[in-house]
């Protein structure tokens, strides 16, 4: 991922900042410029999520994505945040510790790196609460 593309996401990815539509009351993560429910009638503002939620579904990745080979096996989950929206993220725990319904909270971690001298990616992962 290029520096500029990553840089644009830093506030959201580092701080779990999404958006809230004050018209319909829905919360969104990743952030939206336009409310998918109200569309142009929506009024979007920034919202910092508490970072707590529950595992909706998960997998243990054995054949890694490019750049993630040194992490296998790793847990990948869809997490429903308390405020409503769901997101995809890694959960740091032993494979087998995770179940559907497990309560998790967000932590700030290294996601990956481009190469030894390349860019390091940081962002949100989750741990069992």
């Amino acid at each position: 991922m290029t520096v500029s593309r990553f840089w644009r996401k830093i506030p959201h990815r580092y701080n779990l900042i999404g958006t809230h539509c004050t018209n319909c009351g829905e919360y969104y993560f990743p952030p939206r410029q336009m409310c998918p429910t109200c569309r142009r009638d929506g009024k979007i503002e920034s919202y910092q999520f508490e970072g707590k939620g529950e595992v909706i579904t998960y997998t243990v990745i054995h054949t890694a994505a490019k750049g993630y080979a040194n992490q296998v096996p790793y847990n990948l989950a869809i997490i429903k945040l308390n405020e409503g929206p769901s997101l995809t993220g890694q959960v740091i725990c032993e494979p087998g510790e995770l179940e559907i319904g497990t309560r998790v909270r967000s932590v700030f971690r290294k996601l990956g790196e481009e190469s030894e001298k390349g860019m390091i990616y940081y962002g949100t992962k989750f741990v069992v609460e």
């Binding site: 991922m1 593309r5 996401k9 990815r13 990743p30 998918p36 909706i56 579904t57 998960y58 997998t59 243990v60 990745i61 054995h62 054949t63 890694a64 994505a65 490019k66 993630y68 992490q71 790793y74 990948l76 989950a77 869809i78 929206p85 769901s86 997101l87 995809t88 993220g89 890694q90 494979p95 559907i100 996601l111 990956g112 990616y121 962002g123």
Partner: protein
């Protein structure tokens, strides 16, 4: 709008075609289809080509004009050529664009083709190119792979409906069995449940044999107005429905992760357009990029009740001699999945079935067939219904 028919088909072998390039296989499939239809280059009004990621796989963009050129249609005839991209649904969408062009009256003879050359790069690069069909910035960056996304669908399907690994494996066993009867298939060997269950875990609960392979291949069909189709062939196959639907690109944004609602909606729109119900469909080629994807597809398209797809697959209710044969070609699993080609290959398979020329995998009395092509983890779905009778 005018009715549209398929008057010719062509398809390369699917597999690791290291001795041929993307342009070679596209031209091979296209020329076969043109010969099958008995048309001349001068009659072709346009080309639509499904291709997901030639830039990543062979470092070549602008494949519309490239293929028109190497088909001999660019230098004197200047035939317009359009590339269509919707990840793994690129082929189905190219077919749909071709049908719309003929139906609108803007064009008469259209060649709709699809192709992908995936084995010219190493596995890491291929996996990464495929990951671009998901949301790179909010799924891919978190370490998501395509098998990983479908594994999360599978996990929840198992949790909600009691679907088992054995039921998913049964899909793979059935599709490999069908593949043995398909001369173009990448894999033409029988496998057992144990082959699937003992293969490497890719993304729990999906084993390697739950996943479709990395493949090369191309397919093409020739489209014409239904009114003149009989001029070209005794066995035209008529398009009864062409539909498409979108869903949020990220799996985590879907209302129900075990339902690919783009498939469901595209299916419902197709039944409505054709004036048919799932009971009227004699056979279907569905998008089984993973075994769980076939289970979801046969539920989402209305052939089985939600949650019943695993049991039905295990009980042989989707076999070639059942009431709804699913993937008689071997599907993406055994036939192979050159991503841009798949949607067109499905139409080629159904055309052969409706013409009665499908050989050993022929479904008795096939009169109405359906194709179902999915992009990504369900961000796009394209459904077609074809009929032997107008």
């Amino acid at each position: 709008m005018r009715d549209v028919a398929i008057i010719g088909t062509g398809c390369t072998k699917f597999g690791e075609l290291w001795d041929r390039s993307l342009r070679d296989i596209f031209v091979e499939a296209g020329v076969s289809a043109i010969v099958d239809a008995g048309i001349q280059g001068e009659e072709i009004d346009g080309l639509y080509m499904g291709n997901m990621s030639s830039g990543r796989f062979v470092e070549q963009e602008h494949v519309g004009s490239l293929i028109a050129d190497y088909s001999g249609l660019a230098s004197k005839l200047h035939v317009p050529a359009t590339r269509v991209e919707a990840a793994c649904a690129s082929g189905g969408l190219a077919l749909r664009q071709g049908i719309l062009a003929v139906a609108s009256g803007y064009a008469d003879i259209i060649v709709a083709a699809g192709g992908e050359k995936m084995t010219d790069v190493d596995l890491d690069t291929a996996t990464d190119a495929l990951a671009a069909a998901a949301d790179r910035e909010w799924e891919g960056i978190m370490g998501a792979t395509f098998p990983g996304l479908y594994a999360m669908i599978a996990r929840l399907h198992m949790h909600k409906y009691g679907t088992t690994s054995e039921q998913m494996a049964a899909v793979s066993v059935k599709n490999h069995h069908n593949g043995t009867m398909n001369p173009i298939a990448q894999f033409r060997n029988e496998i057992t449940l144990d082959t699937v269950l003992q293969s490497n875990m890719v993304a729990d609960p999906l084993h390697m044999f739950d996943c479709s392979p990395i493949s090369d291949g191309a397919a093409a069909v020739v489209l014409a107005p239904a009114d003149v189709a009989k001029k070209y062939t005794d066995t035209p196959v008529y398009v009864k429905a062409t539909t498409q639907a979108s869903s949020p690109i990220s799996l985590h944004d879907r209302a129900d992760i075990t339902t690919l609602d783009a498939s469901m909606v595209a299916g419902q729109r197709a039944y409505k357009m054709a004036g048919l119900t799932p009971d009227d469909i004699d056979l279907v080629e569905v998008h089984d990029c993973f075994t769980i994807a076939e289970i979801c597809a046969i539920e989402d398209l209305g052939f089985f009740k939600k949650g019943d797809g695993g049991r039905a697959s295990e009980d042989g209710e989707t076999a070639i001699d059942s009431s709804i044969p699913v993937n008689p070609s071997g599907g993406l699993k055994a036939c192979g999945h050159p991503v841009g080609a798949t949607g067109i290959k499905q139409a080629v398979v159904i055309t052969e079935q409706l013409r009665g020329t499908a050989g050993k995998s022929q479904v008795d009395g096939a009169g109405i067939g359906m194709t179902h092509n999915v992009g990504g983890s369900g961000g796009t779905a394209v459904v077609h219904i074809f009929s032997r009778d107008r």
